[in-house]
Symmetry: C2
Subunit: 392 residues, 2 copies
């Protein structure tokens, strides 16, 4: 997968060259996806704080601000925070509930001048953060996680302990605001459901901020977002920032929700046909779950897309062909009912569009980059290789 494996000169490389499987980013689609949400945020009058957990790439993140100075970002690990701080990003929200053991790394970033916001939803964590901030004489900005839809962590907006937690943080100079994530919107099947999820997300965050303010506590940040709700919100009054991550690449789950079209999907995995089992109706490839991940997000949707849809090397979909099974380094493609299995000889390269871009991208060390401008049928030129941040 590394760019070193291919004997072709770097400036003549196409998707026909690197050994498969490998991940590809279509930079034209990525730019379009980024532009779409940026325009929405502008219209809605909120700042955008993209979540970089999907691409985990400084190169992809650079497309978020094209030439301008680094934008605010959200991260899912301290390894991302450290890599992005190194890359010049100095306004970072670490949107996973803080583990007290990780505070030394948070403080180390703060000492370097990075504004690194942490998240918490308990008095215990607030006391840890307040104590660590006092001992270090560096107030760590903290947001209180609000649960808007019973998805995972957070306090309900009406939780009795909310003002008390706010006070513990405020007294140490740490209270920054509230944050919520409408995780259940990934299961909101219609545009109307997504619109309601966005409304509920906003109302939950604004209500929690209101309770803190009523208790005399200052709330600077009211942060909401998920890819579906960020694209469905119509009015974000009271919200100061919008977060979303998946939208830079999108994926089959998002297409299944109608948040994007199939031709917005910017991440794919190039695989090679290595066998045929006509007696079972199978085409076997060298891209298994190691290349795609085990994610089966569309299994819960109206149209199950297996482990992914299949396109040719230029990116044109092969209608009715689906990756329906995966072992570690083998993928099985089958045709949907009534669709004839295409003739794809040994050695044919294909691009698999994933269920879940975050999970599929995580299986790779980086991305071969194409600009998506070649005509159908030709192997797109590779414009570069972009590394990912990995680990924690």
């Amino acid at each position: 997968m590394t760019p070193d494996n291919h004997p072709v000169a770097a400036d003549r490389l196409t998707l026909a060259d690197p050994d498969t499987p490998f991940a590809v980013v279509d930079v034209r689609r990525t730019r379009r996806n980024i532009g779409r949400l940026a325009a929405r945020a502008d219209r809605l009058g909120v700042a955008l704080r993209p979540h970089v957990k999907t691409a985990k790439s400084l190169d992809v993140a650079a497309l978020l601000h094209e030439g301008a100075k680094p934008c605010p970002v959200t991260v899912s690990t301290l390894a991302e925070a450290e890599a992005f701080a190194e890359g010049g990003y100095n306004d970072i929200t670490y949107a996973v509930g803080i583990d007290p053991h990780k505070l030394p790394r948070v403080l180390a970033l703060s000492r370097r001048g990075v504004t690194l916001r942490v998240l918490l939803d308990s008095t215990e964590q607030a006391e840890f953060v307040a104590d660590a901030s006092r001992r270090a004489a560096i107030p760590v900005p903290a947001q209180i996680e609000i649960d808007c839809d019973g998805h995972r962590g957070g306090l309900r907006p009406d939780a009795p302990e909310l003002p008390g937690i706010g006070r513990v943080l405020h007294e140490a100079g740490c209270l920054d605001g509230v944050l919520t994530h409408a995780g259940e919107s990934y299961f909101a099947p219609t545009a109307e459901d997504q619109r309601l999820a966005a409304l509920n997300e906003r109302d939950s965050a604004v209500a929690a901020a209101g309770r803190l303010r009523s208790a005399g506590l200052p709330v600077a940040t009211v942060s909401v977002g998920s890819t579906p709700t960020a694209h469905a919100a119509e009015d974000l009054t009271g919200v100061t920032e919008l977060r979303a991550g998946n939208y830079v690449f999108f994926d089959l789950v998002m297409a299944g929700l109608g948040v994007c079209d199939l031709d917005d999907l910017a991440l794919s995995v190039v695989v090679t046909v290595i066998g045929h089992r006509p007696e079972y109706g199978w085409i076997v490839t060298d891209g298994g779950w190691m290349a795609m991940s085990r994610d089966r997000g569309t299994a819960a949707q109206a149209q199950d897309q297996g482990y992914g849809l299949v396109a040719d090397l230029s990116g044109a979909l092969l209608p009715g062909l689906v990756m329906t099974a995966a072992s570690q380094e083998h993928g099985t493609l089958t045709a949907r009912e009534g669709v004839p299995l295409p003739d794809l000889p040994i050695g044919t390269r294909l691009r698999i569009l994933p269920n879940h871009a975050c999970a599929t991208a995580a299986q790779h060390r980086g991305y071969h980059v194409v600009d998506g401008s070649r005509p159908t049928g030709e192997a797109p030129a590779v414009a570069g290789f972009w590394n990912r941040v990995s680990g924690w």
Copy 2:
């Protein structure tokens, strides 16, 4: 996750020190698992060719031959083949159907004196391998993949094209033998089913070898194996070598099949409690699918183990506690019906035993190593950090 993140001196490090999540290998259990299959292979009178795709680690592989010279191995990627060749392993089978585009890397290893066997199941591939071998004047040893149970690739033992493929290979000096893998044995629920799967696996490989020999073709290698069948086989007459990979670590899928006990599981992931949702009966951790993978292998078994079972830091299971949900960096633990949710404060470290060791291990850059000898309740000492091979 990297060993650089912790301020504790390396020789005093315990599982309480590195930031979570991180993967742990219990070397005592690994050694015991390795010893068990080695003794079986001895009794059965076959050579063992362990599959290194599970651990992908030269350090783990070193336990396979403890001080003796490198043993024959099976790999799932050329990146593994190259890393193991670099580590002194010179008898390697690449057990994924060969993509003609990858032959230059195969030949490069052959030129370095590594016996690298490739796998194929079509005349087309046989011709590619034969042609490439002739052009390079290096016969690439090839095995014909036999399908014993309709799992994925391979030719049925009675496939009409089998002798023809054998002949194409033989005429170029490439025919090495046959290989089969009872992939369906992962779904064979009882010991008797597994015994029958092993019998069928052996019979399929031996029948295919017999057909080639009847056609006047030499068959040196008759290779069979999967972790369940390797542990169930009673008579491997006609077989020359046994392959298995998962068994070095085992996992919940293997425990669910009865191939191992829960206290044989040598791989776990250390996570930290970062929140509580008593209203839902949830304990939230910082170990999501990024740390565990999306693999839900036990969902197809009689006892669904969610994303994993939960142990304390010393490795003692917390009965009835299961990781039942995962997002990217969040795990949700719930108690089984009738079991009270244990009191695990923020900051508590736990070890999650995975469904599928191959998939979980692949989410990590390497392993913190413990020897499993500390008493229950104490944080085991870390004896080292072992890197994994990644990519393709």
